[in-house]
Symmetry: none
Subunit: 211 residues, 4 copies
DNA sequence: CATGAATGAGGCTTCATTCAT
DNA sequence: CATGAATGAAGCCTCATTCAT
């Protein structure tokens, strides 16, 4: 086979990209090194020049997602805090941005969200670390919004977190499964609508408390 | 080993139970036939007397979940329609029931929800069938509630479906991961609260419409 | 391939025998599982039904040697002590017996002696254990012979041990390498001759002591 | 890495030295090119500029030993023949010298003696050549000593050769394995003692002869 | 029906060697 | 001369499935 020499970083990126596609398409367990090197167009040994094992490559993929996510979160944060008189409407922009981020990295999203509940003993550590990181990010945002009274303070922040992540996952994964692209603005509208006024027609429902 | 003879149905149930535990603990790919037969206390060949392959056993597990789910859904439906003057508060009961169902079948729930986004080429068909079945069930309920004006009619039913499934999944999987049991009544309260009045303090946010 | 079912012990013995031949012919590192199963006429998986790894099979081979050796040593010992008025001529018989034992298990001897100085980090433990066992056996014999004054007491027992093992190894390995069978009685005669009278014609040589 | 340019001979020596250390520490099979170049501090390609293969490097190591051995043997021979009225005590000096030579080249000795019985198909040729060379050297010496009646002529020269090489190997390898340095003079004394008077207390043992 | 030994395809990883720079 | 990225054959091991008893 023709021998193409690249510098370490480029080759590594190339392999990570192939790995993302393969892991997204077949899942960590089913994906084989053969799949990855075939997609990257490299020899078997070349893979091991950059990663010590399949697991390490998977870690690199997760790391890549984490970096992208962190970068986005940073941008978010600076903007949010840079404008202290945050209009609640800012929330809507965030939703669009977050959904857009996930949908423009479909394979990565598939990998990270697919294992959302995975307890596959192997890649647990790395994976949980990322999930925790994401949840902490939104938990902070929620607490902040409660502090500045954009969000009602009488709601359990964890429940709100579940709402945020659960709805996101559903929306995004459905779009990915279908290969479609939802109208993010419309989704955000629906969402904000729910958050603002609820969805029940009458004020019915609920005990007053656990009493 | 002593050779214990059981009738086909009993033996099959025994194996399915072992399979549920094993698939929940290790995931479909990592779980091995050895794990299953060890847990069921049977010989290797016996497994293949009842299932033609590992995948078929997994299908049986999903079928089992589906049966339980269908039974529950039936009970639900009859009750709902048996009481035509549906109080909106009925919704709350349904939430508690649904969450309770999932949490009292933790291993099954783990299996079904863990692969929520799985695109593992193999068990895709069976799995999607079940998910679709669940989503259709709730979609019907949502449409009904919109018809009888318990739910606002201007909201996208699919979005509401996402809210329902997404939040459920998050709440349930977190509890399962932690091995804890949340106060379902309290969760339902929070949820109804959200649905009734929203969570935003001010009426801010959102475009008027896509118009 | 035709499927021949054997009981565990028989199959295991069969594999060990194949392993002995292969390890003797190619050495531990060069020998492959493929070599062993080809020689045993079994499938790859069958090998792993009986041994967890190549190393474990090698251990079994060494164990086999050790058992044979121990059995021989036991027979030796009982005879020696059963006849307290041991004629020094008994020593000669022992030499013949020991050489004969090694030469009638050529492959095993090749394996054990070949690595005589091996420091191959892997199978060191097991191997050293066997060597130590053999050396201790002869050390005990030497001490005993010194006690009953068959051997001069002013000689370093360790040096005598070196003489015994060194000469044995040379004689045996040469025969094995050549595929020949030396006249053991003649070798023993030479040996006894050396031990009895030395080989130097005159009484020359050596400092009196380290002074 | 900085590119250090050396003349061919120097570089080659440098690599051989690294190879000696590595082969001694890990054995031919386990030692890798990576080990050697790491120790030599050179690039992978540089190794193949000087040796066509791993085996060729091993050959070079054996050649190096052979050269050292030959040089020593030459010195020995000239001295021996330069002093025609050989005192039998000269033998003792030779023993000390030979043991000393081996012990001051421990890594090489380990490599050469470790494989004493090796039948590793690959490096057999080269290895046997060296062993034969060493054995011929001592065989010549033995025959000479028999001719001048220092050694009894009725003993099989080959057996004496085995005694010589076997005891040497045992003594030397034990010292190397322990990392200790025996008192060579004392060892030589024991040895000469054995050769001169034997070790048996009484004149017992042995058939008269094969006659 | 039940058993468990046997099978072999296929996966992961190593490492001697090559070659573009 | 020197470098080190690239190659791919070959080795070890696992495990779903089969089948003789």
């Amino acid at each position: 086979m023709k021998r193409q020499i690249l510098d370490k970083a480029t080759r590594r990126r190339q392999i990570v990209e192939a790995a993302i596609a393969v892991f997204a398409a077949r899942g960590y367990r089913v994906a084989s090194i053969s799949d990855i090197i075939a997609r990257a167009g490299i020899a078997r040994g070349t893979f091991y020049l950059h990663f010590q094992s399949k697991e390490e490559a998977f870690d690199a993929v997760l790391d890549h997602f984490h970096e992208l996510f962190t970068a986005m979160a940073e941008r978010e944060k600076s903007r949010r805090y840079g404008n202290p008189v945050a209009l609640p409407g800012r929330l809507r922009e965030s939703l669009v941005e977050w959904l857009g981020f996930l949908l423009s990295n479909r394979d990565l999203t598939k990998i990270v969200f697919r294992q959302a509940a995975a307890v596959d003993p192997d890649y647990e550590r790395k994976y949980l670390q990322i999930v925790r990181s994401m949840q902490e990010h939104s938990a902070r945002a929620i607490r902040f919004l409660q502090t500045i009274k954009v969000l009602r303070a009488d709601l359990d922040p964890q429940f709100l977190n579940h709402v945020f992540h659960g709805v996101t996952a559903q929306v995004v994964l459905q779009a990915i499964a279908e290969g479609s692209t939802p109208d993010l603005e419309a989704v955000a509208d629906q969402w904000i609508n729910l958050l603002r006024s609820g969805v029940l027609r009458t004020g019915a429902g609920g005990r007053k408390a656990k009493s």
